[in-house]
Symmetry: C2
Subunit: 370 residues, 2 copies
DNA sequence: GCCGGACGCGCAACCGTTTGCGTATGGCCC
DNA sequence: GGGCCATACGCAAACGGTTGCGCGTCCGGC
């Protein structure tokens, strides 16, 4: 790959910081490269090691600590995580690997993780993998080469291979959102959520339902579908294979999935979607087919994002913020040497207008439509 | 703030990584900490400096380079960016500061930036600021302390204070999406976009329009509104102040804004929204008020996200992916010493069903509704 | 009054790479 | 065949912190 020629003036090799006669220019004090431990040491008349310890309140007398801190704030000293990490092995950074931050659910988790660990002096390095195993390996290795102190994995796959590999890396880690057997994970009880949706729709009188499923490699998507199917079966209502369509997680994939489904069948009265965005896409496809959500067909989303409220979509609330916070908490604890504990959070069904109608006369409406 | 006790067993100061007696076995050679330049040097009988140069193909004979590379791949050597950065000042990381990655437009830009710089050997460190000036300063400083080689600023404010400050930092930087006067920026011609929307709606016959505006501190949001208003004026159609409502960028804020607007007026026939999500929220509020998008009232979004396609929403396509890629390109060039060039990308109006009806009889419909 | 231990601090060796400089070697030209 | 330059490589000093170790001092206990 040809590296495009920059544009002429390259970085002046002598421009570094203060290459040669460091102190021939003592008159420009504004360009002090940036205070370092040595600066503080000279300033306070102490040794750099003492300053280092004083800053971390580690075996330092009160007066010394005060002196050092005063000098530090005065000079605006900021420790260099690179140097510290090099020696100590702790970088104060954690890695989070997501399948994509354009998935709002993952972005929300990231946001919360970021907030939480920031308050504890950590930074987050994110990497997106688009669920590609090759990318997962590469990006985790990249994070590792940056020496992150721990990993939050938000894109685990149900076949534990990926998580198993992460576990061998010798770095503290926590899965979030998507679990994998035998690994510490902060998840929502997706199976229960599926059951709740099944009950809700069955209670409304629906007897023929469809499911726009998420990616099968995600334990979260899988759990939803499994719970939904299981509960329907328990109530004597089947979920026909023909009415289950893979729908991804995005609006476009959801629309396409619904279009495929409508090409095949029109006799369902309710649809459970793998995500809110899939539900939006489905809404659009249904509308184009002359079917109205809430009246002609009941629609349930997943995650209860803000947009679901706005769109009057019945959805399952999965507390992303709590997921993120608890995962971050667990990871920091693991970094401090704790055995990380798995947690399963309870989902909550939020009923809105998209499941307002009853399940009775819909087949007719569908038949009459268009 | 009380630091929650980890869980009992604190980090054993002598434990380093392996917590307790995890591997008391020092004879396992598989756990070689990880190959370093010295490892390679001993292996090849060369000096570390030679190895370092050979790896970067800098003044090394062909046979030496081959030897070193062979050893490197055999041992799975990965250079340590921390150590390299410490010495060289270049960390191979760039910083991106966004207002929030839960804003899909920003997430898309981040994704593209990430992809692009990854292919060129860089990592991205993101920071979200929620448009809070305090957070902007803090997080940029954090990025700087991690010694990023450059900055991509996606949350600039129209009052140039923030961008001006960034410019004084002595780090290459590029603004993206939101510009600021006098700074290199990759943006969309938002003013033109506003004009295009105005023309589209005016051509349809609308004469009384509303605007759900984005944050006024964003040059992007501001430009949309300004262009919209200016073009309407040129065509002899006013935009009443009473019909401009601040609507944020999210679905919930959009819904709330539309509700406020509807409380006040119902005689508008078209609404230009600052973002697609605002339009979704507005759709919901309009529906609750008995008004149907496309029939009773025309709705235009902004950004043309996937969901807009799915929801049949007329929108302005602003190529986030190109924005991200070009910004990344510009920043890497700037890091190589080039003067960064600003670029303005052309928006594109994508007409869909939400502006299907004509502007004529809507006031009546609105009046009759409910 | 003496001894032991805790405490505060300095010293110097690291962590893994890069890089200015010095040196030895080889090839080339005259 | 001698002088010269380029080239390939080694040496050691950085970069900015952290940390094991050792020493001196002060304090308390008997």
């Amino acid at each position: 790959m040809l590296e495009g020629l920059p544009c002429g003036r390259h970085a002046d090799p002598h421009a570094g910081l203060a290459p040669i006669g460091l102190p021939p220019l003592p008159d420009t004090p504004g360009s002090d490269p940036r205070p370092t431990l040595r600066t503080l040491a000279e300033r306070t008349g102490l040794h750099t090691s003492t300053v280092s310890r004083a800053l971390r309140r580690d075996r330092a007398s009160d007066p010394t600590a005060a002196l050092v801190h005063a000098a530090a704030t005065e000079l605006g000293y900021r420790p260099d995580p690179l140097a510290a990490g090099l020696r100590s092995g702790r970088t104060g950074a954690i890695g989070m690997v997501a399948h994509s931050l354009t998935d709002l659910a993952q972005a929300l988790i990231h946001e919360e993780v970021d907030q939480y660990v920031l308050a504890h002096g950590y930074d987050v390095l994110v990497a997106a993998t688009r669920d590609d195993p090759e990318a997962q390996r590469k990006r985790v290795e990249l994070l590792l080469s940056r020496r992150v102190d721990g990993l939050i994995i938000a894109d685990a796959h149900r076949d534990g291979a990926y998580a198993d590999w992460v576990a061998t890396l010798g770095v503290p880690y926590v899965l979030v959102m998507r679990g994998a057997p035998g690994h510490p994970a902060i998840t929502v009880d997706d199976e229960l959520a599926g059951r709740m949706v099944a009950d809700h729709l069955a209670d409304l009188g629906h007897t023929r339902m469809a499911h726009l499923a998420g990616p099968s490699w995600s334990a979260a998507s899988y759990g939803r579908a499994a719970g939904f199917r299981a509960r329907l079966a328990e109530r004597g209502i089947g979920l026909e294979d023909d009415l289950v369509e893979p729908g991804g997680l995005h609006a476009t994939t959801g629309r396409a999935a619904m279009e495929r489904l409508l090409d095949r069948r029109r006799d369902f009265t309710a649809v459970f979607c793998a995500s809110d965005f899939v539900a939006f896409g489905a809404t659009s496809a249904l509308g184009a087919a002359g079917l109205r959500v809430g009246d002609d067909v009941a629609l349930v989303g997943y995650n209860d994002l803000q947009a679901a409220t706005a769109m009057d979509l019945t959805s399952v609330r999965t507390p992303q913020d709590e997921l993120g916070r608890i995962a971050a908490e667990a990871l920091l604890a693991a970094i401090d040497g704790c055995e990380p504990q798995s947690r399963t959070l309870a989902p909550e069904l939020v009923v809105r207008g998209s499941t307002a109608g009853s399940g009775a006369p819909l087949a007719d409406a569908a038949g009459a439509a268009r």
